[in-house]
Symmetry: D2
Subunit: 185 residues, 4 copies
């Protein structure tokens, strides 16, 4: 039975439609809804609702809290029943900033720590939310210890990955450089 | 751009409802429908419709054809643009038999070769088909070369995994032994 | 607040996929699931699970029970809080037989009594089940008292409508005659 | 073959999520998507994209255009192949204003003219858009000639219905009066 913890911090993944205002707002309990749609065997998922804010508004204090939660969960690496992987649901806009922060703070990760998010809220019919969550949960059992961003079929390890704002996905740093080169050309 | 090939062989994943007969039958083009629901970046998916039959009816001849397809696709390991992963859609009943067959025939896999299937047809509202396909495609980028079954959040490498018919999922051989022990106890 | 009663008798609408057998079987509680997906204002829906069998196996005894339930529910036509419409979920194969039976037995209907069903089980991704249920519930507020079959955007009053087995829908008797004429032509 | 025309004017029903801005914007082609999800027999649907704006921004000039379109479509009442019903997709905020306007301008309607909309965009997972569209299309075959708003299982004829902003639905004028009475009490 693989134990993993899902940490929610907010982001587009949780945006919900407010009928009266006609706008999108953040809502918490969406993680439970998403998990109900996945068939996960021999996996125990703990969920931790840390905060619910747009990552554009994240401060270092927020990142410090996330780091604190990760530290807390990875306290007992030798414990066979302990946490074997962490998935952090994060807004995509500053997800890589948090990835770099965790990479700096966590000298030697003992488990995979995976950041993921969604370009389209889960409440939308066509959303990448469930796909990315699914890949991230799966990845906790196949990636080596480290800090990663997982989405859209890919896993990129920190340091280095960035958000490609045009395409709305995450890319390796080398791809980022060649993209810039092409545009300047 | 990661190139992977999806080989369809049939199975529950493709079962479709025949209104006139009121029963389920196999239908091919479902893979394209499923892929349309996934957002895969930097991944090129080739699809190969090899056969469309219930795996309960598989013969060694069918397994030999699957092996032949795998050999064909993995012909050029040094080619950077070549096939980097194979996902085989297979009926769950004899998926592990094919897994063992491929394990015996392929001495040194150069890429991940992943078998997956579904307990509930994709055409059903609640189906594990898309989840398992998603995990398998993702896994081609995170697992080491070898033969695997991927489903329900887990990856099990051959030789050894079996189908747990009670739970409708795949388990490692060690878990299989302890399950039998518990039942006999 | 419009009060209507939904009577379930079984049929394709309720067919569910049995993973172990790999076949479709009837299951009851699907009506509640469907109702949860509809947003119905000022309507109170009572549900009555009368039986759960394939309509191909219906006997006159079953039809008599359905008639008995309808009689029971329409006992107090002057009661403003009483039942204002009945929707009967029925297998499509012999739905019209039940419609004719009710037409003969119920001399002067005081409310709309609507039979409906589905060509594809609700559990399938592409199903007409919810659409037909929705139209039928709506129809209880817009049709004059009488016995009807409602499906696929249409309402046909008994006596007369039949199932067009080729197209998998219901048609007026006049259309049935011209279809036969065309085929013989 | 019942001919009906669907007139799109915009509204919440068509709001779509803009990944880059992270907001909702209006998009046209959604009607075709919705129609693909309905199984409508013996019904021919013509679609007319008149405008695509939030109904809060409607002016009398916009309403005049809608009236013009309705007049154009109902020009030949004796023509058996002519338009037998009109469904107008409209923002819910000022839908009733347009209903009253059409009621005043169209002295003697020869077909049902139905206004409908959605409280939640069709692009959201939980949306009333398809349900209301379905009910409205069905209603063109069951309601007497007149101007109506159809949504959430109900049909209300103009003049008189209003939007109940608290509940997010439409109600008859008498219900509106008693609601106010209750609140003042």
């Amino acid at each position: 039975m693989r134990q993993i913890t899902l940490i929610s911090t907010g982001g587009t993944i949780e945006k919900t439609y407010d009928e009266h205002a006609g706008t999108l707002m953040n809502r918490s309990s969406i993680v439970q809804e998403m998990l109900r749609l996945l068939r996960l065997e021999d996996t125990q998922i703990n969920t931790l609702q840390l905060m619910s804010k747009d990552s554009l508004n994240f401060t270092d204090s927020d990142r410090k809290r996330i780091f604190g939660a990760v530290e807390l969960l990875t306290g007992e690496p030798e414990d066979p029943t302990g946490c074997k992987g962490i998935v952090i649901l994060h807004g995509t806009d500053t997800l890589c900033d948090t990835g770099e922060y965790l990479y700096k703070e966590i000298k030697e990760p003992t488990i995979p720590i995976i950041l993921t998010g969604a370009m389209r809220p889960f409440e939308m019919k066509r959303s990448d939310a469930l796909q990315n969550l699914n890949e991230s949960i799966f990845a906790t059992g196949s990636l080596k210890p480290g800090i990663y961003v997982v989405a859209h079929g890919n896993a990129h390890q920190f340091p280095g990955p960035v958000k490609d704002r045009e395409r709305g996905t995450f890319i390796k740093p080398s791809e980022a450089r060649s993209t810039r080169r092409n545009r300047m050309g």
